[in-house]
């Protein structure tokens, strides 16, 4: 309650700011200890320095990933997932392929192209994801990264990404296929809804203008 006014819920007069702060800190301590089911704060007889501890944790995490991908050995969740419409993916990345229809042949001018994705978020926290637009080279065997965007996904739902420039350059090179790679943290099984229900299938919406041949009249 504001200063000088009583609290309608507890009937007590408002506390002085310093006392209010002490009460809030006591409440914070009590709430954390009760949620951790600890009667009191643990007494650490031999504390490790925070820096050494964080280094150890970082090393442990790095070691965990190294052993998992050493040659000849696969971790369970890095078994390639082959899904309809998906060429190959590990638990860390998914590739989507979009083929352009004939209307886009003949190098039209791309006015606008937007990638629509429906994020499936496993838990309400921030999920970093890197979206790469891949461009095949002339042989089609290698791909280069045309653009890379890092996103922070916080909730399930539709998201859009401008891919106009990438589509324009692909069309200009005569390719009719846009490959999008989604790279996610390992504990995020699949950023997209499993099973690709039609209502939530990723799609690209493009607006193009067919170039009319430039006619020159010679007199």
């Amino acid at each position: 309650a504001a200063q000088g006014v009583w609290c309608p819920a507890c009937g007590l007069a408002a506390l002085a700011p310093t006392m209010q702060r002490d009460v809030l800190i006591a409440l914070a301590k009590q709430s954390i200890l009760s949620k951790l089911r600890l009667p009191d704060r643990p007494n650490i007889t031999q504390p490790t320095s925070r820096g050494a501890l964080l280094t150890a944790l970082r090393r442990m995490r790095a070691q965990h990933t190294d052993t998992a991908i050493s040659p000849g050995m696969l971790r369970d969740n890095s078994v390639p997932h082959l899904r309809p419409g998906m060429e190959s993916s590990t638990s860390r990345s998914v590739r989507l392929h979009f083929r352009f229809t004939r209307e886009l042949a003949g190098s039209p001018e791309i006015l606008q192209a937007t990638l629509h994705l429906f994020w499936a978020v496993p838990s309400p926290r921030t999920h970093p994801v890197t979206v790469r637009l891949l461009q095949p080279d002339a042989t089609g065997l290698n791909v280069t990264v045309a653009s890379e965007t890092r996103l922070e996904v916080q909730r399930a739902g539709w998201a859009t990404l401008d891919v106009g420039r990438a589509v324009q350059s692909l069309i200009g090179e005569g390719s009719q296929r846009l490959t999008v790679e989604l790279e996610v943290a390992e504990d995020w099984q699949s950023p997209l809804l499993a099973g690709h229900r039609d209502s939530h299938r990723p799609f690209v919406a493009a607006q193009a203008r067919v170039r009319t041949p430039h006619r020159v009249h010679r007199r």
Binding site: K29, I32, R41, P42
Partner: protein
């Protein structure tokens, strides 16, 4: 949700950060360095009532308290959390093990009037 600023008396979210080092808890809690114990405060005039609140049961409990303490209080809407998230802790337990725990609904992100 509205974050409190200046002298607004409307229902808003007040930020309150407990620094573990200040309260001498930094030796057993490794991460994070503190706890955002934000809370909701402020008035809920009738024209703000009905902005989505947290849970009717929570609202009923608070209303009963108000009635018990002051029967003639004409309050029918309260300033409550409308969005919360968990607090992730990395800490030593009593046996010296390092434990990681996510405590749900510990951090208030937004407040509103029920």
């Amino acid at each position: 949700g509205i974050d409190c600023s200046g002298d607004s008396r409307m229902c808003c979210r007040k930020e309150f950060f407990v620094d573990f080092k200040e309260i001498g808890w930094e030796d057993w809690i490794i991460q994070p360095e503190g706890y955002h114990m934000n809370y909701c405060a402020g008035l809920c005039p009738l024209h703000m009532a009905g902005i989505p609140g947290l849970a009717a049961s929570f609202h009923t409990a608070v209303l009963n308290l108000i009635k018990a303490n002051n029967a003639d209080a004409a309050v029918d809407s309260c300033c409550v959390p409308t969005q919360r998230r968990s607090l992730s802790l990395l800490y030593y337990d009593r046996d010296g093990n390092i434990v990681k725990t996510d405590i749900p609904d510990m951090i208030v992100d937004a407040c509103g009037c029920t």
